[in-house]
Homo-oligomer: 361 residues x 4
Amino acid sequence: MSFNAFGKNFRFTTWGESHGEAIGCVIDGCPPLIPLKEKDIQKYLDMRKPGKNRFVTQRREDDKVSILSGVFEGKTTGTPIMLLIWNKDQKSNDYSDIKNKFRPGHADLTYFLKYGIRDYRGGGRSSARETASRVAAGAVARKVIGHILKKDILIQGAVTQVGKLTINQRNFNWNDVKKNSFFCPDKKIVKVWEEYLDQTRKKGSSLGAKLLVNAKNVPAGLGEPVYGKLDADLAGAMMSINAVKGVEIGAGNEAVELSGDENSDEIRANKNKKIIFSSNNSGGILGGISSGQELNLSITIKPTSSILKAKKTINNKFQNTSISTKGRHDPCVGLRAVPIAEAMMACVLADHILRNRAQCG
Amino acid sequence: MSFNAFGKNFRFTTWGESHGEAIGCVIDGCPPLIPLKEKDIQKYLDMRKPGKNRFVTQRREDDKVSILSGVFEGKTTGTPIMLLIWNKDQKSNDYSDIKNKFRPGHADLTYFLKYGIRDYRGGGRSSARETASRVAAGAVARKVIGHILKKDILIQGAVTQVGKLTINQRNFNWNDVKKNSFFCPDKKIVKVWEEYLDQTRKKGSSLGAKLLVNAKNVPAGLGEPVYGKLDADLAGAMMSINAVKGVEIGAGNEAVELSGDENSDEIRANKNKKIIFSSNNSGGILGGISSGQELNLSITIKPTSSILKAKKTINNKFQNTSISTKGRHDPCVGLRAVPIAEAMMACVLADHILRNRAQCG
Amino acid sequence: MSFNAFGKNFRFTTWGESHGEAIGCVIDGCPPLIPLKEKDIQKYLDMRKPGKNRFVTQRREDDKVSILSGVFEGKTTGTPIMLLIWNKDQKSNDYSDIKNKFRPGHADLTYFLKYGIRDYRGGGRSSARETASRVAAGAVARKVIGHILKKDILIQGAVTQVGKLTINQRNFNWNDVKKNSFFCPDKKIVKVWEEYLDQTRKKGSSLGAKLLVNAKNVPAGLGEPVYGKLDADLAGAMMSINAVKGVEIGAGNEAVELSGDENSDEIRANKNKKIIFSSNNSGGILGGISSGQELNLSITIKPTSSILKAKKTINNKFQNTSISTKGRHDPCVGLRAVPIAEAMMACVLADHILRNRAQCG
Amino acid sequence: MSFNAFGKNFRFTTWGESHGEAIGCVIDGCPPLIPLKEKDIQKYLDMRKPGKNRFVTQRREDDKVSILSGVFEGKTTGTPIMLLIWNKDQKSNDYSDIKNKFRPGHADLTYFLKYGIRDYRGGGRSSARETASRVAAGAVARKVIGHILKKDILIQGAVTQVGKLTINQRNFNWNDVKKNSFFCPDKKIVKVWEEYLDQTRKKGSSLGAKLLVNAKNVPAGLGEPVYGKLDADLAGAMMSINAVKGVEIGAGNEAVELSGDENSDEIRANKNKKIIFSSNNSGGILGGISSGQELNLSITIKPTSSILKAKKTINNKFQNTSISTKGRHDPCVGLRAVPIAEAMMACVLADHILRNRAQCG
C-alpha cells in the first residue's frame, strides 16, 4: 500500500489531521446496489468514540459521519463514497507546549525529519484520530462482505492482556466483550484491570495491551500468493495501526515452541465432504490463502507514549530539554484498538473477496 | 502488494514453480548507472542455496543466476532487469505420492480450493523455492541502496531460537553468524542445536525458529504514513515469507509488559545536533517513519510441515487418508530463512528510499 | 489508472456527483513545504466556472474550494490534501424528465447497464461537474511543479476549432486566449464563432471543438517507458475528460501524410551544448520520454450530446421513446475544456516529475 | 500504468532489449484453469514476425515462445506465466555506427538524457522488438476473455491508410485483411501501396500509416469511470505502442465536424429488449463504459524514423554531425502494427473484464 490509501479493488484513502477542520475517507471500487446508511457506519464509530469512560481520552467528539457521495436513494452506486467527520473538540491550546518539542515514542520527530514540517496540534496526521476514518471504511467493508457472500463474516476483537495481566482463557466468552469498556472477554479480570490502570495512571505511566482478532465464516480461497498473501496483507494492515508492535497469525510466536508434529493441523472430511481441521495453529491461512477455518490473529500494542512522568527529549532546535504530557491521555491506548483492528480486518477481507472474484470468479 | 509483485517504485515480480523449468524475477524501476554483475547476486543466492549441510534439504541446485536484460556494459540502464535461474534437480518422482493428497500445514489444499488446480510437484508455486527469486531481487536492492545513499545499509539476520532453545544474549556476536550453518550469533549454542535437530529428526518431527533482522545506517525519513508505513510494509514483507507466523518490530511483544515509562526511548542531541536515543524499543521506527536508529525486527517461523511421522489428511476426492513425508526435508526451515528475510528487508528499504526521494527529494 | 484515482507518486482521487452535496478530491503524495492557499486553487476554478457567458451552462455555482487537510500554516505537510467544493445550484427538478430515460450520447445507459443503478440527477457522477475536482488537483500540481523545478512549466490551452470553423494559424496569439470567452488564440474568428454558435443553438443542435494544449519549459527525461510513457499517460489523461474522442501528440494525425524525411525533427547543439531541434513534429516526446522541447498535444471534443432537438431513445424499462433536453446546456462543451485539459497536463507532469525523481534522482 | 507493467487485475510486465539475450513478459493475475499451449501464443507472434515480405525488416527471428511457468498439464494455474523468446539474429555490428549518435525521431537521445546510459544496440529497450512481448501477452488475454465470457471477442485490426493513400471504404472487407501482407481490407489498393512503398524506399524515405482496430461481441459494462475509463485505458495502451501519434475513438476527430444532431447515436430496443443503436459514432463507449456496441478505434503511426537519407543530428558529446540509416528497416513501420494494436486491445479488455467482475460480479 502506499501513502494514505489502502486496498486494491476495495480501496480507501483517508485524510485529515487531529485538529484540522475535519477527517474522513473516500472509498473507491465499492460494488453497487449495497444498502448503506449513515447509521450503518455510525454504530462502529460510536464503539471507537473517545470519552466513553474514565480510561479513554476525555476529548469530546460526536464523530458524526456524513456520506457526501456514492450513495443514491439508500444504495451504493459504484462511484466513490466520501465519508466526512467534522472535528469539534479541537482544543488547540492543550498542545501548545509540544509545539517546539518532540514527544518520545511519538511521530513528532520523524515527521519533522521527513517532511521538514509538522502539524503539531495533537499529533496532526499521526494522531490516532485518523483511525476513525478506518473504522468508517471498515463499516462499509462489512456491508460489502455481507452483500457479496450473502452472509456476514463475523469479525470480533477482544483485549486479552493489559500490561502484565492476561485473561484466563477458560473464562473466555465473546458475549462478555461488549459488556465492559475494556472489550475484555474475561469478565472476572475487568475489576483487576481497572485497579491496575488506576495505579498506573497515578504513577504517571501507562500500559500496553494485547488483542485477539477473530473472523468466522471466512470462505476458503482468499489471498493472492505470493506478495498479496492474506496473512501478509493482514500483517501490514494491523502494523499500520498506531502503536502496534507485533502481529501474529494463528499460533503465532508460540509456534516456535511447538514441534512439527504438534503444530500440524490435521485434515479430515466428513460425509458431506466438508473439511474439518483437528486444530487451527495456522490461524485459518495456508500458503497465504484462507482455508475456510476461522481467522485468528493477535496484535501487541505498546504502552501509551504520552505520560505524565517527565522524559528527556529535544526541541526543534535540537537542544536538550524534557517533556511531560499533562493533557487528556489514555493510560492504555490498546483499549481503544478493538474497533480499529476489526475494521482493518474487514477492509482486508472485502478487498480480497473482490480480488478473488476478479481472478477466480 | 498484489499477486506476485512487490514494491512501488522499486518493484519486482517473481515467477516460477519448484519443479518447473526455471524460476526468476523481473525488477522494474531500478535506477540507472548502478554497476551490476551476476556475481553480485550470486553471492546471496549461494548463502540461501539448499544442500549446504545435513540439516538443509538435499536438493542439489546450482542456483546460477543469469541477467537477461536491463544491464548493459556492466551497468543498470533503468529498464527491467530479468533474473533467471534454471531448475536442475527437479526429481519429480519424489513427489508422486502427494499428487492426490494435501499435506497438512502446506498450501496444497488452499491452492486447490482457490484455483481448482495445483502444480503438485514439490509444492509448485507455494514451494520455498520461490524465495530464491526474492534473494536475487534483494541483492539488486542492496546495490540500489548503496548507490543512492553513497554508503551501504548493513542488513544482517541471525537465528536466535530453535524450538525451545534460545541463544544467550550475552554471547551475541554478529561476527559468529556466518561462521556456522545455523546463522547463529551465539557460538556456544551451535552444538546444542545440532543435537537437538538430530533428535527431532529421528522422532520424525521438526522445529520452529525465531530470527532477528537488523539494519544499520538507515537514514531517517523512510516510510509513508499511514498505509505505507515502514513497519507496515516490513511486516507485510516478512509475513509473505513461507512459514512465518509472527512479526515484531523493536521491543515487539515484550512491549506489552513494559510500562510507558520503561518503553520510552528518550531523545538527546549532542553538540553536533546528532540525535541519540537512550534505547531502541521502537525498533528504529516512529509513526511509520524511520528515526535514524538501527532497524530491529524479529520473525517467528513455524516448524517444518513436512515430517516423517504420519499425519491425517484427505485426498483430492475429499476422502480421509494419511500422509508421511519421506523425501528430503529440513528439520527446521527457519535455518534457511536468514538470507530471505535480509533480502526482503533490502527490498523494502530500496523501495522506500526511492519513494521518499520522489516525495521529499 | 483505476476507478477514480489518477497518478502514481502524485495521486489524486476525485469524488462527488453533479447534484450531491459536494464534490472534491484528495491529493496524496504531495511534497511538503509548498506554499498553498485556497486562492491558488480558486483562480483556476474560476476559469472553469459555469455561467460565465451565454454559451456556457447557466448553472450558478460559486465553486468555492476549501482545503480541509494537508496544509498547515500555509504550507503543504506531505499528508493528504482534501479539497472540497459544496454544490449549491443543484436544481434537481430540472432533471426529473430524464429520471427514467437514457439520454443518447450520455453515460446514462452505460452506468445503468454496469451498475444497475444510476444517480440520474444531472448525470450524477458522469457529469462534467466532476472536472472541477480535476481543475483543483491541477492547481496543486502546478505548485508542485514550480516547487520542484524551481521554475514553472507554462501550461496553456486554446480552442483552435469549433465545428467546421478552424482558426487561422497566422493569427495565433497566446495573449489573446484569455481575452475572450472561447479561449481562442485567433481574435479575428471570435465573432464568427459567436454567430455560428447562436445559429446552432437556434437549430436545437450543438458543435464539437478541437483544442491545443502546450507546455513550455518541460525538462527532458520525463516518462517511464514502456507503459508509463509520457505520451501514453497524457493520452489516457486527456481521453478521461468527458466528451473527448481523439488525442494527438505533436504532428498527430498529420504525421501520416508526412514522409519520414519531412517528419524528421533534426537535432543540433549550440556552443553551450544546448540541444535545438529543427522542428517539433514529435510534440516534445521521443520514445515516451520528454526531449526538452515544448509539449504539444491536441484533443477533439464531440458536440454536446444534450440538445433541444428530440432524439430517439429508450426508457429504463427498455421501451422506445424520445427525449429532448430543455434545460441549461452548452452549445459546445469543448469551450469549457481548456482549464480541464491544462489541469490534466499539469497532473501528468507533476506525477512524472516525482516518478522521475524517484528513479533517476 | 507505470514502468514496464500494464494492467491492474490482468497485469503483465515486459522485459528485454532488441539485442539482449532474450525478451519476454510475465503475466500476473491470470485466472486458473484456462487451456494454454505455446502454439496458442505462437500463432500471434507469427503474424507479427519480422522478415515476412520485402517491406518488413529483414531481421530473421524465429520468435519461438516458451512458457516457463504458470501452466501445468496444459492449463493455467493462477500463478505467474513467464513467456520467453530468445533473440537469435542480433547482428550487433549493424548498429556500430549509431553507438555514438542519436538518431532523429528515435528514443536514443531521450533515453540518454533520462538515464545517462543507453543500450545502443538496435535501440535497446526502445526498439519495436519489445512489442513481441505485447503480442504474447495479448494471446493470453484473448484466452482469458474467451474463458470468462464463454465466447470470444473478435478483435481485428486493419491498415486503412499508408502515407497519403487511403482505402476506399466501399471495398472494406475484413476477409481480405489476412490475405495480404499489408493487413489491408481493400484488396484493390494493395498493388498501389506496393508501388508507393517501393518509390518511397528508393527516395530513401518512409511513410506513415493509419489503422483501424475493431472488437465485436464486447459486453456492456466494461470501464471504470472516471480515470480507468475504457477509452482512456485504450488510448493509453495504443499510445504506448512505438511510433503512434494519434488515437481516436469511434468518430474520433471527425466528431468535431458533426453537429450534435448528426453525432447522436439514437437508441432503440427491440421486442427482446435488445438494445440497438442507430449509429456508432461513440465507438462503443459512453461515459467510459462499453455500451455493448462494437468497439472502434483508430491510430495514426508516424513514418519510420530510420531512413537512408542523411539527417542532421548530434553525437553523444553533443557535437553536430549527421546520420543515415543503412541497415534493414521498414519503409512503413505501421504495416507491422496490426497484431500489436490487436494485442493491446485484448489486454485492455481482459483486464477490464476482470476488474468489472471484481466490482460488479
